[in-house]
């Protein structure tokens, strides 16, 4: 549970296109790390490389290392499917499986891992839904399709689905960008809650959100069109927002970007 991630000299490619260059970064356990930066600078690309989702894109390639408690998830002996079972992911747009009931959605990961015991599954479903602050809203309709929930509820359902397998790390790619302010607040509270047990990396375009939920912030930038994105700096969130080390960071967070 709650392992640390160490990213070492990571270079990411889509075919011939060099998308992200030389990223090195440490993500401590039980801690929230925020990725911020302008559109297209490679935040999602880096995030997706942390649970080997990057290689799902055709022609995508990875150079460098990502160490999960010291073990390289890109080592040739490691099965990407196993990596994804221990490093969960929540996407920008809520994506519950539409034909599955709410309960089946939550335990989908456990089912994939071969858990069949009905009692155990029900237990995990309840625990995860409580963990995602969704239990009270859905406890009477666990057998209804997950697609019937509101956007914010669907996103919390996806979080419940991701934490049901008790991952070592939880990755979130702009989890609130499709949500209203109230749902956003609910999810931010949830992140603060989840931090006690999980290592979290979150991509966000919302500066206030990064400031509110994260402990450390990494700023990515793009020097020019067609150039690879780069990690400009990473530091405690407080420091980044009050006294960043780089001019580019300051310009970006104060809105004087570009």
């Amino acid at each position: 549970m709650a392992k640390r991630l160490d990213i070492k000299d990571l270079n990411l490619f889509y075919g011939k296109f060099h998308a992200v260059e030389n990223v090195s970064l440490a993500v401590p356990p039980k801690n929230v790390t925020a990725f911020i930066g302008p559109s297209g600078c490679g935040k999602s690309t880096v995030l997706r490389s942390l649970n080997r989702m990057h290689e799902v894109a055709p022609g995508a390639r990875v150079e460098g290392k990502v160490l999960l408690d010291g073990e390289d998830i890109y080592a040739s002996t490691v099965d990407p499917v196993e990596v994804r079972r221990t490093i969960g992911m929540v996407f920008q747009r809520p994506n519950p499986f539409p034909t599955m009931s709410i309960r089946d959605n939550v335990v989908a990961g456990l089912r994939l891992a071969g858990v069949k015991d009905k009692k155990k599954l029900d237990e995990v479903a309840e625990r995860s839904l409580r963990g995602a602050n969704l239990w009270n809203e859905v406890k009477d309709r666990l057998d209804k399709p997950g697609g019937g929930l509101s956007g914010g509820q669907q996103q919390r359902l996806c979080i419940a689905r991701a934490i049901a397998v008790q991952p070592d790390v939880l990755l979130m790619d702009e989890p609130c960008s499709a949500l209203d302010p109230i749902s956003t607040l609910a999810i931010e509270d949830l992140i603060t809650e989840l931090k006690k047990e999980y290592t979290i990396v979150i991509v966000t375009h919302n500066m206030q959100q990064a400031a509110r939920v994260s402990d450390q912030t990494a700023f990515f930038n793009l020097l020019g069109v067609g150039q690879p994105g780069q990690l400009i700096e990473v530091d405690d969130t407080e420091k980044i927002f009050s006294n960043p080390g780089q001019k580019a960071t300051e310009d970006y967070i104060s809105g004087r970007f570009g």
Binding site: V81, R84, F91
Partner: protein, 354 residues
């Protein structure tokens, strides 16, 4: 078109604000007047652009045309069939005899035609459905892109092979190849009625078994093509959701692609079934005709609706005999309609995926 005032308006004023002003003015002046017969008319003059009108006219026209066409075909079949049905000496729906050589003494019943048609089609469907599913999944989920394209092209090409070629291939190539296998099935599983020795010579291969396999090959491309399209549309975000949960390739297919594509696959299969029911030339060439009744064996011969009608073309100069065949055609027409209706209800039942 019949209302030049409305049609002229958009042409006259390029500025939509001006047009809205013109429309709004009379409304404003009428507002204080209590409801008059004219009042309800003001809201029903929404501004319609000529492009919209023309397109709507064309679309409605095409829709009406196809409905009228189908209605006309049905009406034609019914009108032509009724006189002969009146002359029929035996029960049309439940008799197995078919004798129209003497127009003065028509004896025709469709039971065997119906059974042979349905059995050939179902056999074809049972063979084609799993294979098409496999090919469609392979092409969309497993095959590398540079292989998937040419492979899909080859499958599509199958659809372009003329019926008659399939018929000849079935009779001269597949029939003889199947003979030892058919013999073996009859010897070992003959105690099951559908594998019993049939009413035609197996060695010639003109059996329902051969015809079913050939029709399966013929409907394979349509089922594959439609299923492939549907599977390809599985939302990327659901596939990624499954992958991120640690699903293997097959688990991704099972949790997202199949539930998403199920309804499309079923309707693709029903499309295939529709084609199988109406397949004519290939079946006509392959199936050995026989005067013996259909005995529920795959190694029987006989005729389907379509092949029976095609074989009888020489008799059509007598309207009474021709009417008997048209009545058979009518049943085929209804049968395909029913199949389509069932397909539709199945698809409607799976609408929850959005």
């Amino acid at each position: 078109m019949n209302d030049p005032v409305v049609a002229k308006r958009p042409a006259g004023s390029g500025d939509p604000g001006a047009a809205r002003g013109v429309a709004a003015a009379p409304t404003a002046s009428e507002a204080p007047i209590p409801p008059t017969p004219e009042a309800p008319e003001t809201p029903k003059a929404p501004h319609v652009r000529p492009g919209d009108r023309i397109f709507r006219g064309l679309a409605t026209g095409s829709g009406v045309f196809i409905v009228v066409l189908i209605g006309a075909i049905g009406l034609f079949l019914i009108l032509q069939a009724i006189p002969s049905l009146g002359l029929d000496q035996i029960n049309f729906l439940t008799s197995r005899e078919w004798n129209t050589s003497d127009p003065a003494n028509l004896r025709f019943g469709i039971l065997d035609l119906l059974l042979v048609t349905v059995i050939v089609s179902i056999l074809a469907l049972l063979i084609a459905m799993p294979i098409a599913l496999g090919i469609a999944l392979f092409l969309t989920q497993y095959a590398p892109r540079n292989l998937a394209r040419p492979f899909a092209y080859v499958v599509d090409l199958l659809a372009a092979v003329p019926s008659i070629v399939f018929g000849l291939w079935g009779l001269f190539v597949l029939g003889p190849v199947l003979y030892p296998f058919s013999e073996w099935l009859i010897d070992t599983l003959g105690w099951i009625p559908i594998f019993a020795k049939g009413n035609v010579n197996v060695q010639l291969g003109g059996t329902i078994f051969t015809a079913g396999i050939v029709v399966a090959v013929m409907i394979l491309p349509i089922i594959t093509a439609v299923s492939r399209e549907v599977f390809d549309r599985t939302p990327r975000m659901h596939i990624e959701g499954a992958i991120a949960l640690g699903a293997t390739k097959w688990e991704v297919v099972r949790t997202t692609v199949l539930p998403f594509g199920k309804a499309g696959y079923v309707s693709a299969s029903m499309l295939g079934l529709g084609r199988a029911l109406g397949e004519t030339i290939a079946v006509m060439i392959i199936l050995s005709t026989t005067s013996a009744a259909f005995g529920w064996s795959l190694f029987d011969g006989g005729a389907t609706f379509a092949s029976k009608i095609a074989l009888a073309a020489p008799e059509f100069n007598d309207t009474r005999s021709a009417g008997a065949y048209i009545a058979a055609g009518l049943v085929l027409f209804v049968l395909t309609f029913v199949v389509n209706a069932i397909a539709r209800s199945i698809v409607a039942g799976h609408k929850e995926y959005e």
